[in-house]
């Protein structure tokens, strides 16, 4: 908090055209990521977590209407274009859930990995190949030289995701946007890919925005975790406190709904209803109120502000009185 944030998003609202109507998918999202910090972004379908990452990487679909501000250090991200945008994307690299959908299947791994180096940063082909091989070794891929000459289909999903991570790190970014990078992988492969990301992140002092639906995974590997619901940030919390001392009923409900690997519950504490997108949720009251066991009349009088409490933020009017009870409810 002493240092200025590396990336700061303020009051980001995004509307997308759906069936000829502009519909909100993000509402007043604000978040900061400091240099070297790992921030988790957790939510269910429609929460807007992936849309936030896309907005940050300027990857929103055509026709999207964007309000608010995104700044990387001193530059205004929203106004970047051409070569400036390319160099921004070298500093803010993105990794996707499905690596296969984001590589050209007829190009070799080496060409894919070194493209940005050669075209944007003017590195010689030989030097670029050398760096790529080096980075592949760092993500735990053996026989890196040979891998550079292979095609994407010759690698397993876990391998390819490591290649994507290596490619993202080649341009020496300051921030990694990881959009569910391990969701499609096996659990044991996930553990390995996470270990590699964690290690390299520390080694390169890289900040990370880690987008996932898995509260436990985010809590385990991120310094802070942001919980989103219906296109809004509902809680920001230091990760180690997320499960033991949540500040928003939704966070607590999400944790309680997950079965516990250590014990069988007679009944899971399911959240009634289904997760809503921003445009489906009530716009002028607490978006979670319809599903919240603690909702009162006051919760329906307007969208609650993000309330600062003990270093965390909660978009719940009753956070003061509910704090402590939330966790008890699930244990």
């Amino acid at each position: 908090m002493s240092t200025d944030p590396l990336l700061s998003v303020s009051d980001l609202t995004v509307l997308l055209p759906v069936e000829g109507e502009q519909r909100a998918v993000l509402r007043d999202v604000s978040l900061d990521i400091r240099a070297g910090e790992a921030v988790g972004l957790v939510g269910e379908s429609g929460s807007g977590k992936s849309m936030t990452a896309r907005a940050i990487d300027r990857l929103l679909p055509k026709g999207a209407q964007v309000h608010g501000q995104i700044r990387l250090r001193d530059s205004d991200v929203m106004t970047l274009a051409g070569s400036q945008l390319r160099s921004y994307r070298n500093q803010v690299a993105m990794i996707f859930q499905d690596p296969r959908a984001h590589v050209n299947p007829v190009r070799r791994i080496g060409d894919f990995m070194t493209e940005a180096l050669r075209t944007n940063l003017g590195v010689s082909p030989a030097d670029a190949a050398h760096r790529a091989a080096d980075m592949l070794a760092q993500v735990g891929i053996e026989d890196a030289r040979r891998r550079l000459h292979q095609y994407p289909h010759e690698l397993s999903g876990g391998m390819l995701q490591r290649v994507m991570i290596a490619a993202a790190l080649l341009t020496e970014p300051a921030l990694l946007l990881a959009d569910e990078p391990t969701t499609a992988l096996d659990v044991t492969t996930q553990a390995e890919v996470m270990a590699i990301m964690d290690e390299l992140r520390h080694q390169y002092g890289l900040a990370m925005l880690f987008i996932t639906h898995d509260l436990e995974l985010a809590a385990a590997i991120c310094d802070r975790t942001i919980v989103m619901y219906a296109g809004q940030v509902v809680e920001v919390r230091r990760s180690e406190l997320l499960h033991s001392d949540p500040l928003h009923p939704y966070t607590a409900a999400l944790a309680a709904a997950r079965p516990d690997i250590g014990s069988k519950a007679a009944r899971l504490q399911a959240i009634p209803g289904r997760p809503l997108s921003a445009f489906e949720a009530p716009a002028h009251e607490c978006a979670f109120a319809p599903r919240c066991p603690y909702a009162q009349d006051a919760c329906r009088d307007g969208v609650p502000p993000l309330i600062d409490l003990d270093g965390g933020l909660s978009r719940c009017l009753r956070v003061g009185e509910l704090r402590g009870q939330l966790e008890a409810a699930h244990a």
Partner: protein, 327 residues
């Protein structure tokens, strides 16, 4: 690779008696001819199993997808088949319901063999009343042109010679059982959310009144809050009916919540079995241990396997790097 390494058998097999689903731990009948007895245990003589699988094997060309799987389910119990991609767990499910034919081995459900293809339409329908399945993807497992009501009705017509009134009454029962309202029952799949579609798929499977319901990653694609609803629903259904579940899953927490017994599959082989609680709390096989250790939890630090001195080339890496040309 040496056989005894590819199937690491926890040495004192006799000690593992309590982990076996059935009392008899003597391994295979000699006829099976296989030396790997890691997951032995033929069904006990006295108990009437609702499902018995013996020495099941499935080859796809050179690939052995399932290698010598033997297990059984006692009435009223639920079994988890745990594994990751390529473990053979889904192939087992497809063989159980008759979508794949076993290369070797036998499957006996409700006392009747189903290892060979059904010979008549009647036989096929009878098998449908023994084992049913709910698939993973709620978006493709319903006919897009059929409402929930009509999907269930089609199954009722197929299995029971009931009149329209009785079918309608049963449809309403089933729709209510899976927690849908009448408006949703008359909606086409595209108007339903993932969780609602999965409920329709469950109602359709239950319409046949099966003894065994296979849940093939059926809650894996659902949001956490919806997943809890469906898991509770499945628990309620088990309380209200006599159905046994076979849960095919990689999600150990879900396995814990829904099943009594578990078998762990790894690269086509059954590597561990026992009560679900024991398998998860005190895994014996190195693979199960690694699986358990890979589950994120508060304070969890992921580790890189390569960095752990784990002896000579771990077969895992080969598996993960499969698809690489042999050169």
């Amino acid at each position: 690779m040496p056989e005894n390494e590819s199937v690491p058998v926890p040495a004192p097999a006799a000690d593992r008696d309590p982990r076996l689903l059935t009392a008899d731990a003597t391994g295979h009948p000699a006829a099976a001819g296989a030396s790997r007895a890691a997951a032995g245990g033929s069904p006990g003589a006295g108990s009437v199993s609702v499902l018995e699988v013996k020495s099941l094997r499935k080859e796809f060309g050179d690939l052995v997808a399932v290698d010598d799987a033997t297990f059984s389910i006692e009435p009223g119990r639920s079994l988890a088949i745990v594994g990751e991609s390529g473990s053979g767990k889904t192939t087992i499910a497809r063989m159980l319901v008759g979508l794949e034919r076993a290369t070797r081995g036998t499957i006996t459900a409700c006392g009747r063999d189903r290892s060979r293809p059904a010979r008549s339409a009647r036989d096929r329908r009878r098998r449908g009343r023994e084992i049913q399945i709910v698939f993973q993807d709620p978006y493709t497992s319903l006919d897009p042109r059929q409402t929930a009501e009509r999907a269930v009705d089609e199954i009722l017509r197929l299995h029971h010679g009931w009149e329209a009134d009785r079918r309608q009454a049963r449809i309403e029962q089933l729709i209510e059982l899976v927690g849908l309202d009448s408006r949703q029952a008359r909606a086409l799949p595209r108007a339903l959310s993932g969780g609602q579609r999965q409920r329709v798929a469950i109602a359709r499977a239950l319409a046949a009144e099966p003894q065994i319901l296979i849940l093939d990653e059926s809650v894996a694609a659902l949001d956490v809050s919806i997943q809890a609803q469906v898991l509770n629903l499945l628990a309620d259904i088990r309380d209200e009916t006599t159905v046994s579940y076979i849960l095919i899953s990689h999600d150990l927490a879900v396995v814990r919540q829904l099943t009594d017994d578990a078998i762990v599959m790894h690269r086509g082989k059954l590597v561990e079995r026992g009560l679900t609680a024991q398998v998860l709390d005190d895994p014996q096989h190195p693979y199960t241990q690694r699986l358990r250790a890979s589950v994120p939890r508060p304070g969890w630090k992921p580790t890189r396997r390569q960095l752990v001195p784990a002896g000579p080339a771990d077969p895992e890496d080969k598996a993960e790097q499969k698809g690489e040309p042999v050169d």
